[in-house]
Every structure is written in C-alpha cells, then in structure tokens.
Symmetry: C2
Subunit: 147 residues, 2 copies
C-alpha cells in the first residue's frame, strides 16, 4: 500500500470521504516539520492545487481535529497551529521566532499522568494534558537542543 492509499485509509477509518483536498491537506500537515498554521498550509499547497480554497483548509482542519487525526496547538500570537503528531507530547514555543518545537519525553508524560491520577479530580473528564514551555531563543540561527 503506497502513501496515497494509506492516507485514503486513515480518512475512511474515521468515516470521512477521501477527497483530493483532504488528502492534500492532511499530507501537508503530516510532512511539515513546523506545526503549520492554516495559512502556511495554504501557501504550501496552492501551487500544485490552485483551486483549493482557504475556506476549505479551515473546514478540513476542523474536520480532521474533530476526528482526532490532527491536534490544535495554541500559541500567544493569535494564529492557530496544527500538529499531525497525535500522541501525548509537549511543546516549546519560542516567542522571538514563533517556532513550536516538539518536546517528547515519555518519562515526563508518565510522571505527570501518574501525579494527576494520584490527585483524584472530581467531575472532570480529562481529554488532554500538555506542558507548555515558553521562552526566547538565544541564538536565532541555531536550534534549541534538548539533552
């Protein structure tokens, strides 16, 4: 099964028609390393799909989020960002470059999850837990490294 068929399958699995637009948009988010915004995806996609509209990007993103294929990532700059990495993980947001950097650490996830389980939280059905780290990149040209 090629990549195209795999995308089709993932859409069908959640009960969505495998339209060209959805394939293209979903593929774009999946292959982006940048937690793209709707506008970013639009730019990325429009040269090879000139008739695809921005409204479709927004509505498709909403659909993919509803079906759990994509997650929204909040940042303080007023533009929603999207992430095809669905598993529990955390983010570093660089205020001076607008980068969102994945911070994956299973030990941290487990530690937080265990801690929260130990406090029982009444009358809440928890859907998502994530740690937000916000900071300034010191040298904008270099990347942030975690050891």
């Amino acid at each position: 099964m090629n990549q195209f068929e795999q995308l089709k399958e993932r859409l069908s699995e959640v009960g969505l028609k495998a339209t060209q637009q959805r394939m293209v948009i979903f593929h774009s988010i999946m292959t982006s390393k940048n937690h793209p915004s709707a506008e970013n995806i639009f730019e990325q996609v429009k040269s090879s799909n000139p008739s695809l509209s921005l409204a479709t990007i927004y509505s498709t993103l909403e659909t993919l989020v509803d079906k759990g294929l994509v997650k929204k990532v909040l940042v303080k700059d007023g533009v929603m960002r999207y992430d095809a990495h669905i598993g529990t993980h955390n983010h570093i947001y660089c205020t001076n470059t607008s980068e969102i950097i994945d911070f994956e650490d299973e030990e941290l996830n487990q530690m937080i999850k265990k801690f929260l389980a130990s406090k029982n939280i009444e009358n809440l059905n928890i859907k998502d837990i994530s740690l937000h780290i916000e900071g300034e990149k010191i040298d904008k040209r270099k990347s942030v490294k975690i050891n």
Copy 2:
C-alpha cells in the same frame, strides 16, 4: 494603607502612572474569580465607569502584562483570558463551560521544574512553564474538585 493605596503602589513600583482606569481594571481582574476576558472586564466595570472604553481595557491589559502584574491565559476558544495570580500555577480548561480553574500544587510545580532542569535545554531562555489540562465538566452545575 488601604486597598486603593496598595493598588496605586503596585502600579508605581513598576513605573506606571496610577490612573483611574488602571486602578479600576487591575482591581477588577484581581477580584475576579473567573480568569476574565477583556470583554468580561469591560462589562464588569462599565456601570461604575461609563466613560472607560474597551480600547483602554485592551491597552491597559497589554501594559499590565508587560510589567508582569497580570498574565495571559490561552484557551482554544479564540478569546484571551487574564489572570492576576502571577505565581507559577496550572490551569484546567473546561471545554463545555469555558471555565478556567486554577490548579495549584507546589509539589507538581517543583517536580516539573526539577525535571526540566535535569534535561539541559540549550539555546533557550525559558520564560514560563505551564501545564494545561483540558476536559469536559461532567455535571455542569457542580464544580470541579481536586483532592
């Protein structure tokens, strides 16, 4: 020193003129239990201050955030919320009521801080760390309780 004088002092401390508007707005956030939005504050304040404009609310909030007297709280509904509780603490966001509930736990804060210190993160000057818990309130009439 009365409450009025205290507000005045806190503004002066950070080099801000103690204007009527700033006093009123700052006081409103401080006494709100609800992580209010700009609009919420405007509603709260306008009957006793009919000439205070929404633009002043926004610009004052920005100023207070800059000076570190107030923090922004992000949520997925497209409206910025504000918090006069400056110390490190975490938030629970109820997607079905839009409530933001404080989750204060010094043990958790320390645990996360210590963990992050142990991974050294290169080329980043960390400004803020916060854990976001998102979920649905089960019974909307009751409150979320943490034990």
